[in-house]
Symmetry: D2
């Protein structure tokens, strides 16, 4: 398989500051050869996918609805889950590590589910303080940290 | 339909203090004629269902696995989702209001998903502070508050 | 748990002949103490649930959508899967045995999934001939056969 | 998005005759620029993905389990649904058209679900005769027919 899979999660509403961060995360994921996995819709999901495509990376979008055409324009491989919010579980299961960019209740739900499943989560500009989540100060640091958490899962205590 | 549906969520690990609270919540839900909806397994789920059955209430358990026989002994109507953690979305969608009793990452994930879907959540002994969640000091207050949040959803600002 | 769970599957469109059969199936399931599990909507699902309620039985409806209020009026315990057609898998997993009343592609899909999962299926007035499905000539025979298939699963070669 | 998405469904058990057909289907899908979508496991799924990779195509595998590492070696983009058989619904929703190669109950379930959802299905060496399914005599004809069914969905009466 291509990869590793870097899950990028965050709000579906556009926000200039968060979108800039997400674009930078997407670029860095692609530069390192990672596959971007996200929810396939707007806001952080669009921005991260745009960044990944600028650097020639691959993007996968797990959609809440039943039409692959609903994916944003930067998704190479949309998946039509037709499960609504429950599709977040598929994003978390599929990703090797997750990067949260801002985010409200939906993102919080994904972060908590990831931690419940034993997946590592890096947060950029988090809205909530959740024990077990690693904080990063910049997109580059977030991606770098995410890769470390994949490569040495047993050595790093989160 | 029977109801309303009161979702009770919390850890699957047994904890004497939380279990006592969950039993009391289950009893009070049944006394008021509510149907208890939960994840169908151990810990808070077993305790709440036991309480509901003591008072002659009905209990529904949305299981993560594929065998209805895996439900705890106090579940009248087990549902075999075979979706793992994603079954939390079904609990949240099915319930009219949720009561969280303690709880770790899995419960946090359900609370956040509920808030994302616009459902009200009452917390007893919460592990995390999440804006939008109503706190209760006792099982009786939690159930009373939950019923108020169903009956006057538009009037009460959470 | 209450039970056994008898899954009744069939078209969501109303058809007088099929509806009469489904009502009779529902009545007989309830008389024997079975819990009726179905998709919770119209046609055969409504008719079977109506029959079960006439005899004081319990009914569970696994809905494709996200609102429990969408269940037909004879469902005691609706479940809001929000998974569309994929909810058929939950019906099949949850039921101990299935009775198909007529039915088009959706029912065929459920029958095939049940056989794939090793569950037994009894058909009344089938539209398709599928090897492994047991045929019944009347609602009473269908329910009787379904109960035999639960009670002696290892002895009966389908 | 890349595409169109051609869903290839069939048994997970290896069968020399069916596997040869599936390899040829996969090759032809890739030659035409289609993306192969399948269940990501063995038998027809492995053979079709192998064929697609031989011709430089992309392959997506919607897995029943929760580990992307369970995908066969020819899957570029595995998705960990953790939904068991219910993942078949995601394959059907995601694909623009489906090609069934042989297949038992699981494949029959997917075919029926596809027809229920209004998707077109082409069958090679079908085990069951299902009205609405188009038959093909060779892998090349199957893929050619599948493409026609995408390109002129309103004009072709199935």
């Amino acid at each position: 398989m291509r990869g590793p899979y870097i899950g990028v999660i965050g709000t579906g509403e556009s926000d200039p500051g968060l979108d800039d961060m997400a674009v930078a995360v997407g670029r860095e994921v692609a530069r390192r050869g990672g596959v971007l996995v996200c929810g396939g819709l707007g806001g952080v999901m669009t921005a991260a996918a745009l960044g990944a495509k600028e650097e020639g990376g691959f993007t996968v979008g797990i959609l809440p609805g039943s039409h692959v055409e609903d994916a944003n324009h930067f998704i190479d491989f949309p998946i039509a889950s037709n499960m609504g919010q429950a599709r977040n579980a598929i994003i978390v299961q599929t990703a090797h590590v997750l990067i949260a960019v801002g985010g409200g209740y939906g993102t919080l739900s994904e972060i908590a589910m990831a931690l419940k499943m034993g997946k590592k989560v890096v947060a950029l500009h988090p809205e909530f303080e959740i024990p077990g989540v690693r904080s990063a100060q910049s997109p580059a640091e977030a991606v770098s940290l995410a890769y470390q958490l994949i490569e040495a899962p047993a050595d790093i205590v989160v």
